[in-house]
């Protein structure tokens, strides 16, 4: 079944309104919670008076941060560094808040309507403090502190070198420098965050429903904060989660407060984030400034890059995963002998940042790929040619980039064929013809541009992911994953993998996900990692199950395990249906047994296998995008005329679903390229906190894209797979920006900022003062 275009098992329930998302679950008598959130970007809480709120009929309880001191413990950053100046991120801070939207009190009431009424009755005395709302402001000399506990706004400064970049810069025939800016952007899963919890005093167990991407991670954090055994905390990511895209892989204060409050008052409590909260309180990503320098020779061969990256951690450090991914993604698919990257991560008074689909890579690709175009322009060469000359060749794999990955190991690309990806993209795009067409249209006064962008994506990250495979007592194969899906089709994909490994029809295989009580260890769905980690785990555990089933069947039928094959739910000897035993019969013998009766000779009890797959390092997916756009210099409007995506995620389990991932990611990339921007003002107030101000793309903004794949299997896992969840997003802002600048080349306009909006385009042509240009040169 691996490689088959299988329609999804999940779809029937989702198409008939029978999905089970967190807010759809029946949790009898659950109370509704609502959070009071800070209206200030930086302020001290002088007093909270909730007495009027507590008296409102229907209100069951109100807690401020100070009422819950027992859980006020810092939420740990995911990826750390010894040099990181970490600031405590408390679940519901009792003293000082650091971004608009930070929770400061929770109301529990008979309905959400009443809970929100009660929020209006809570009186807070604030001492408003100066706020920081950009990395430039954070790093400015004499800048006020974003956090009173800190001694500066810098979270971490990290430098990496390969070769001798200073010397290369000094002696190079050509150097160019430019500053590139990528704005913030959000995940915007259509389902917002949500947590519900119920404590059972009889078992001492708290059951938590949480639409997280990482149920085991949540359990681990809660076990530490609550000082409870992990087995007493059951975190269930519901079978249906309405999108994740990164923000739901993080761990938030609300996830600590809700179960604790449920335990405290002895009632089930449910909190469903509304979209307004989502805009202010759910983590975002993207905002970075790249001060980029490149050195190259007369042929456009890269000699050195020097990139100083200002990264906005937001109010707290949820981890250094995003900026560290950025630094290791900057070199991309190119051979660069000398590299200097410098990360300046800093604190601001905006909602913390962490991964959003793409996770640090779109910014790196934006800076690098914009620079590749500038090199071509400087030398009067074709940008496709400059890229082709610099690409790492297939026969150079595995390729060591020269800098280190975030785990400290040498950054190594395991596989890929970058030249074939780029040439395939150019061929499908009709690159030569497009250049001719562009020249012709330019004579007619039309501004058409071509943008290319190539990238690599480290995916399938460690440490591990696991799977259990069991023959149930009903005679079905049950695959249990720790990982929780948010629309990726795990119930289908992992049945396909298990089906091949066992040699059993998919109909007899079920897949369950995301419940910490069903499988002890897990990490979570993020970083395009599950196919390349849980995939091999399922493959291995199911392969072992095949041996166990074959051994048992052979014992029962009196034959050789090698001769056992499956027909429907029957294990047959030599393909003979007359010599067969059903899966149910096998379960009866090896699992159910007979009380007090010895097992038949040679039968091993308990048909269950498990496997945890720990990849040696990241598998590298890669891709190349090409865009043809037309720009109206009067309005700044951009029309995408053609778009081609070349994609390599190694072997593909289900092409239907992989195409869906890539094209969905592409739409997100178009949003980042042209539309999405959660603007904050200089006081740290969110200015785009509804979908009227924050533009998500609809069907009329996303163009058709031609997608093709090449398949270079990863040698790092037995399935040869890599991740596919983010590749569509990563290079889109770079490709669009490159195309827009190419279209505007007669105006010598510079496109250094994503998203590329009409306003910015007009500004790029006319300058800040909007003086009309002298005309195309």
């Amino acid at each position: 079944m691996i490689g088959a275009r299988v329609e999804r098992r999940e779809d029937e329930r989702l198409l008939t309104g029978k999905g089970r998302y967190i807010d759809d679950l029946d949790i009898p008598d659950a109370l509704a919670a609502a959070f009071l959130r800070s209206p200030n970007a930086h302020a001290r809480i002088l007093n909270i008076d909730a007495s009027a709120a507590r008296e409102l009929p229907g209100v069951v309880a109100v807690f401020s941060g100070a009422d819950l001191m027992e859980i006020q413990k810092p939420l740990a950053p995911k990826v750390l560094h010894p040099k990181l100046k970490d600031l405590p991120r408390l679940p519901m801070p009792p003293e000082e808040v650091h971004f608009v939207g930070e929770p400061v009190a929770v109301v529990v009431a008979e309905s959400r309507y009443i809970a929100e009424d009660a929020l209006d009755l809570i009186d807070v005395d604030w001492e408003v403090l100066p706020a920081i709302a950009s990395t430039a402001a954070a790093l400015a000399p004499g800048a006020p502190l974003a956090n009173s506990k800190a001694d500066g706004n810098v979270a971490v400064l990290l430098t990496q070198h390969a070769g001798d970049p200073d010397e290369a810069m000094r002696t190079a025939p050509h150097t160019l420098s430019e500053d590139f800016f990528v704005m913030r952007g959000g995940g915007h899963s259509m389902e917002t965050r949500g947590t519900a919890a119920r404590f059972d005093p009889a078992t001492g167990q708290v059951t938590i429903w949480d639409n997280t991407q990482s149920p085991h991670y949540a359990r681990q954090q809660l076990s530490t904060i609550y000082e409870m055994a992990e087995d007493d905390i059951r975190v269930i990511a519901p079978p249906d989660v309405g999108g994740g895209f990164g923000p739901k892989a993080q761990f938030y204060g609300e996830e600590v407060v809700i179960p604790w409050v449920a335990m405290k008052i002895g009632r089930a409590v449910k909190w469903i984030e509304d979209r307004q909260e989502n805009f202010s309180s759910t983590m975002m990503e993207r905002s970075q400034t790249h001060h980029m320098r490149v050195a190259f020779d007369d042929d456009g061969m890269l000699l050195a890059i020097h990139d100083v990256i200002e990264h906005d951690q937001g109010a707290y450090c949820a981890g250094l995963q995003v900026p560290s991914i950025t630094t290791s993604t900057v070199p991309g698919p190119y051979k660069i002998p000398n590299i200097h990257t410098e990360l300046r991560a800093c604190y601001t008074n905006m909602v913390p940042t962490s991964s959003v689909r793409g996770a640090g890579r779109p910014q790196a690709v934006f800076a690098m790929e914009r620079m590749m175009d500038r090199i071509a322009e400087h030398l009067g060469l074709d940008p496709a040619e400059v890229r082709t000359r610099n690409l790492i060749k297939k026969e150079e794999m595995p390729y060591q980039v020269g800098i280190t990955f975030r785990d400290g190991s040498p950054l190594t690309y395991d596989s890929g064929d970058f030249p074939r990806l780029l040439s395939g993209t150019l061929e499908r795009f009709g690159y030569r013809d497009a250049r001719a067409e562009q020249a012709k249209l330019r004579e007619q006064g039309r501004y058409v541009g071509i943008g290319l962008a190539a990238y690599v994506e480290g995916c399938g990250l460690g440490p591990y992911e696991g799977a259990k495979v069991r023959l149930t007592n009903k005679g079905k194969i049950l695959v249990t994953l720790a990982a929780a899906p948010q629309g990726q089709g795990y119930e289908t994909v992992y049945a396909q993998i298990a089906s091949d490994a066992i040699g059993l029809d998919m109909d007899h295989i079920e897949v369950r996900t995301g419940d910490t009580s069903k499988i002890p260890f897990g990490q979570g769905t993020f970083a395009s990692r599950i196919t390349a980690t849980a995939g091999p785990a399922v493959h291995n555990a199911a392969g072992e199950m095949r041996s166990r089933l074959a051994d048992t069947a052979a014992q029962l039928l009196g034959g050789d395990p090698c001769d056992v094959s499956f027909e429907g739910d029957l294990a047959c000897l030599g393909g003979d249906l007359e010599k067969s035993v059903s899966l149910l019969d096998i379960a009866r013998v090896a699992n159910i047994g007979k009380h007090g009766i010895t097992l038949p000779k040679g039968i091993r009890a308990g048909l269950e296998t498990s496997s945890y797959f720990a990849p040696e390092r990241a598998a590298y997916a890669s891709g190349a995008h090409a865009a043809l756009v037309e720009v109206d210099p009067e309005t700044g409007g951009v029309t995408i005329l053609r778009y081609v995506i070349g994609h390599d995620c190694g072997n593909v389990i289900n092409p239907l679903l992989v195409d869906g991932q890539v094209l969905g990611g592409f739409a997100h990339g178009i949003g980042n390229a042209m539309y999405e921007e959660p603007v904050y003002d200089a006081e740290g107030q969110p200015q785009a906190a509804s979908y009227l101000d924050y533009a998500l793309v609809s069907a009329t903004e996303v163009p058709n894209a031609e997608l093709f794949h090449i398949h270079t299997p990863s040698p790092l896992n037995p399935l040869g797979v890599k991740g596919a969840g983010e590749g569509g997003t990563i290079p889109a802002p770079a490709a669009i920006a490159n195309a827009v600048e190419d279209a505007l080349r007669p105006f010598r306009a510079r496109v250094n900022r994503a998203p590329v909006t009409p306003c910015r385009i007009v500004e790029a042509i006319y300058g800040d003062d909007l003086t009309p240009p002298e005309g195309p040169q």
């Binding site: 259509m190 869906g660 592409f666 997100h668 509804s690 609809s698 894209a705």
Partner: protein, 164 residues
């Protein structure tokens, strides 16, 4: 509509069944359907009328149920996603969604199905551009719309075949 102490008594036909309920003034139609009637297929994505996840049909028109109050639905005929399958089998539009991988997380799907159902009843969809127009009132963050466009065109073609 009779006004009573704790709200209004309304009578509304939901998916063919007449429901008589007392509702608070401020209860939204979406919350009425989801929480009172437990028709949880209708989802709330933004609660400010943009994303379209909560779209239901009120007297045949596609309506954002987050922006309508339950009291306003008194005397109307409402259709939700739960009404689409015929005799427990997916209808042709739902089938087209599945065939074309027009859904991933599925959260927005009910709203898309209801918007497209209303549009296809109203007029045929001639081409891709019209399909995109029909879809443009709803937001999907997962699919990039490619599968949705194909599904609308296929469902429309099938509808024409059946009508012939």
């Amino acid at each position: 509509m009779p006004e009573i102490d704790d709200g209004h008594r309304i009578s509304v036909t939901v998916n063919g069944t007449v429901r008589e309920e007392v509702v608070e003034d401020r209860l939204t139609l979406a919350d009425f359907l989801r929480e009172r009637l437990r028709l949880t297929g209708t989802h709330l994505g933004c609660e400010h009328g943009v994303c379209g996840a909560c779209t239901v049909l009120v007297d045949g028109d596609a309506v954002r149920s987050c922006l309508m109050l339950a009291v306003q639905s008194d005397g109307t005929r409402i259709e939700t996603v739960e009404s689409l399958a015929e005799d427990g089998r997916l209808n042709s539009l739902q089938e087209a969604f599945r065939r074309n991988h027009a859904l991933q997380c599925g959260f927005c799907t009910s709203g898309f199905l209801m918007s497209v159902t209303a549009a296809l009843r109203e007029a045929p969809v001639r081409d891709e551009e019209q399909a995109r127009e029909v879809l443009s009132g709803n937001i999907c963050r997962c699919t990039g719309y490619t599968g949705l466009v194909k599904a609308v065109l296929e469902a429309d073609a099938e509808r024409k075949d059946t009508a012939r």
